[in-house]
Amino acid sequence: MTDTTTAAPATRVDRTRLFAWLQEYGVYAAVLTLLVLNVLFTPRFLDVANFRTQLVQVTPIVIVSLGMALVIGTQGIDLSVGSVMALSAAMVVLYLGYGVLPALIVALVAGAAVGAAGGSLVAYVGVQPIVATLALLVGVRGLANVLVPQLMEFRNPDLIALGSSSVAGVPIIVVIAAALTLLMAFLVRRTTFGRQVVAIGGNRTASELSGLPVKRVLMTVYMISGALAALAGVLATARLQASDPTSLGLFIELSAITAVVVGGTPLAGGRIRVLSTVMGALLMQLLSATLIKHNLPQSWTQMVQAVIILTAVYVTRERGPR
């Protein structure tokens, strides 16, 4: 009983098709347009150094938003990612004495543990995702501050190298983010787990009746989001060459949600667009960089970003009711 084609069917169809196209390729078109405009109008835009800076800056957001896309695909949301970054920043310096790898593992496990806490609240207790992860957002930041109360510098050359060296001119952290993007795309498209995540987001009751391990999958999704946020925290710390649990990752959950939404993943779940999510993050980064280069104040950037978010949501919504 959905009557979408009521008045003026011809224009309606055109609009529907336009919106469908925009939802599918809008982000790519927007990124491309911005790039072309920049090449034409921004001096020294094609500078390699400039590109590197932009990519390095956006890397933590990209990594966090990969996990966020997965969570949003299940009709959930993970607000705890910023605090998990802070926690992993604290963990990694505390355990740096054992070497980079053990410290990294401890940080990732801590992130996954926070995800498990949120995931079990959501899956087994039935707490709404926004509430469960809001509690973690507050609590985990506090825990991180208890562990490392103030900015703590470190001199471990390996960790510094992780944050600042490059492979064939590309910063290692960018390579890591790219690899994770491909891995996530593979996970979503080709694995049992990925298909189950999408199905659960699309129709949870039907998934349960089809025998999918709904609770376990939900739990895993939040754990992955936590681990990815922890990795982003370690990489950001490595680049800063200091652990800063007080301010690291503040508000990054909002940037990640923005990237996912602008990328065309509906908040209603049932669809996960990995590459578009990365494009969404790049678009926002490129946008603010462009406006800054043209000496427009930060407040302008924010307003333009708001317009883009609303447009993305509007386009996604139009396709929503089937």
Binding site: T192, L209, G270
Partner: protein, 532 residues
């Protein structure tokens, strides 16, 4: 009981269409002041649409609505409520976190001179109001701390206290204890004596006979019957609801089933459910299915047919009972284990419980068998394509490509996609809940033929259908449920539409030890039915 002749609420030749269906087709219905009028009908008969027309949720496309002798058109539910038509829905729709008193007087709380709510007076008023319905409780407590019955009473008290002339009750007893039902009936009788008109919607025939004066039967959006309750034979009422005139029950023909009911399926049951019990829903239901056998579940809406199927799959919380598949008990409450053991359920509500709308035909088909089509967690595209192509061909699913979104298919093809999903897991028992509802005639015949074929291949099938003809012709054996309990088991020559209707009508749960029965094997029903 002082019923005057002028109806207080009346629908004349009301028609309501939705895209693709006519929900109400020239239905006339009138309720007199001081009468309790039963409104009955099976799924899709148009009861809820009619109620929604009365309460201002829907506007009729044709016909007129008359209230207290005047033509009316309610724009919103609030308008209908203000003019004195109150509705109590199946699920209580009040505010669970607010106090009982706040709920009762919501929107018309007594205020003091400053315009602030006068709590003392509010509590006193609420207490007095509830006491009138035999409910004594602390009105300061949040509503949700009350039992379901008490909540229902609060809803009722609220509905009536707004100066209602007409009270519409939609299955008010579905979650009540027998004692609470008695209280409710007391209240209903008092309303009647006060000259208030009550429209009573329920599937429990006993209740209708206990409390209603007149009855209107709807079927497929049309008026099937209206008349006094007293003197209306049970069997006749059921045949009116199910749309089978007793003398014109055909023997066979219209369906595509070709089963011979004499085929005595022998051997051990592939699935055996023993004494499934769940409060308010199922009472001691036992069902078994042998390989190659189609067992029908008969009964009216709300008799517990779908619930039995869900319970077998482990999707309905049970208080007691056990399900055995191939002789081994399943872990209770785990659909995953049930499916792994070989139980599959084609759910009744295709849209809400079946398809994943935003996924493709292909992905919907392999959803339940993903783990089998994957190696090390990675789905093998080649194997998926193989399975999907095979089923699209076998079930003749009409889709532009396997990658078409399932939500774009017709109902019949969606149903076939779901069947394919379940056949792909190679089940031992297939539970089919209304497999042909809402699909066109051609697809219906195909699905019926397929059920036959699957049973011939040795699958055990549990068939639920409100289409009596389909049930009688498709099943080898039929278990008839009523109010959540098994009342009869029909086999052999008794598997007929007539037989089903007779069992629904004549096994009264109130009549204690079961009296004379045409076909009996209802060992487990008598002790469970001291209820009521």
């Amino acid at each position: 009981m002082g019923a005057s002749e002028e109806p207080v609420l009346e629908a004349r030749q009301v028609t309501k269409r939705f895209p693709g269906v006519v929900a109400l087709d020239g239905v006339s219905f009138a309720v007199l002041p001081g009468e309790v009028h039963a409104l009955v009908g099976e799924n899709g008969a148009g009861k809820s649409t009619l109620i929604k027309v009365f309460t201002g949720v829907y506007r009729p496309d044709g016909g007129e609505l008359r209230y207290q002798g005047e033509r009316v058109a309610f724009g919103t539910p609030l308008e209908a409520q203000r003019s004195g038509i109150s509705t109590i829905y199946q699920e209580v729709n009040l505010v669970p976190m607010m106090s009982v008193a706040r709920n009762l007087l919501l929107g018309r709380e007594p205020r003091n001179r400053l315009g602030v709510i006068d709590a003392t007076r509010m509590y006193a008023e609420a207490e007095a109001l509830l006491a009138g319905y035999g409910v004594r409780t602390d009105v300061r407590r949040p509503l949700r701390t009350l039992g379901m019955g008490a909540q229902q009473m609060v809803a009722l008290a609220r509905a009536i206290s707004v100066d209602a002339r007409v009270v519409i009750m939609d299955e008010p007893t579905s979650s009540l204890e027998p004692r609470e039902v008695e209280t409710l009936f007391g209240v209903i009788r008092r309303l009647r004596d006060d000259g208030i008109a009550v429209v009573y919607v329920s599937h429990r025939l006993d209740e209708l006979y206990q409390v209603c004066d007149r009855v209107t039967v709807l079927r497929d959006g049309r008026l099937a019957h209206t008349g006094p309750m007293a003197g209306l034979d049970r069997l006749r009422l059921i045949s009116l609801m199910l749309g089978r005139a007793l003398d014109e029950v055909r023997t066979s023909g219209a369906t595509r089933f070709s089963r011979d009911h004499d085929a005595e399926a022998t051997g051990a049951p592939v699935m055996e459910a023993r004494s499934l019990t769940s409060r308010h829903v199922l009472r001691d239901v036992s069902v078994s299915v042998r390989p190659g056998e189609v067992v029908g579940l008969g009964g009216l809406l709300g008799a517990g047919r779908s619930e039995t199927a869900k319970a077998i799959l482990g999707a309905l919380p049970l208080d007691s009972g056990v399900v055995l598949v191939a002789g081994l008990p399943l872990r209770r409450g785990s659909t995953t284990t049930a499916i792994r053991a070989g139980v599959s359920l084609l759910p009744e509500d295709r849209k809400a419980e079946g398809i994943i709308p935003n996924l493709s035909v292909r992905e919907n088909i392999v959803l339940a068998s993903l783990s089998r089509l994957a190696r090390g967690g990675v789905v093998s595209d080649a194997r998926v394509d193989e399975v999907v192509d095979a089923f699209i061909r076998k079930l003749r699913i009409k889709a532009s490509s396997p990658h078409q979104k399932v939500s774009e298919l017709s109902g019949g093809n969606q149903q076939k996609v779901l069947l394919a999903r379940w056949l792909a897991v190679r089940p031992k028992v297939l539970l089919l809940d209304e497999p042909t509802r809402g699909i066109d005639v051609g697809a219906k015949a195909e699905v019926q033929a397929l059920i036959d074929e699957l049973a011939d291949e040795g699958l055990g099938v549990l068939l639920i259908s409100s289409d009596l003809e389909e049930l009688a012709e498709g099943s080898d054996r039929i278990i008839v449920l009523r109010e959540g309990a098994v009342v009869a088991e029909l086999s052999g020559a008794d598997v007929t539409e007539q037989g089903i209707m007779t069992s629904i009508a004549h096994h009264s749960p109130t009549s204690g030890p079961l009296a004379v029965e045409p076909v009996t094997r209802a060992d487990h029903s008598s002790k469970a039915e001291s209820h009521d």
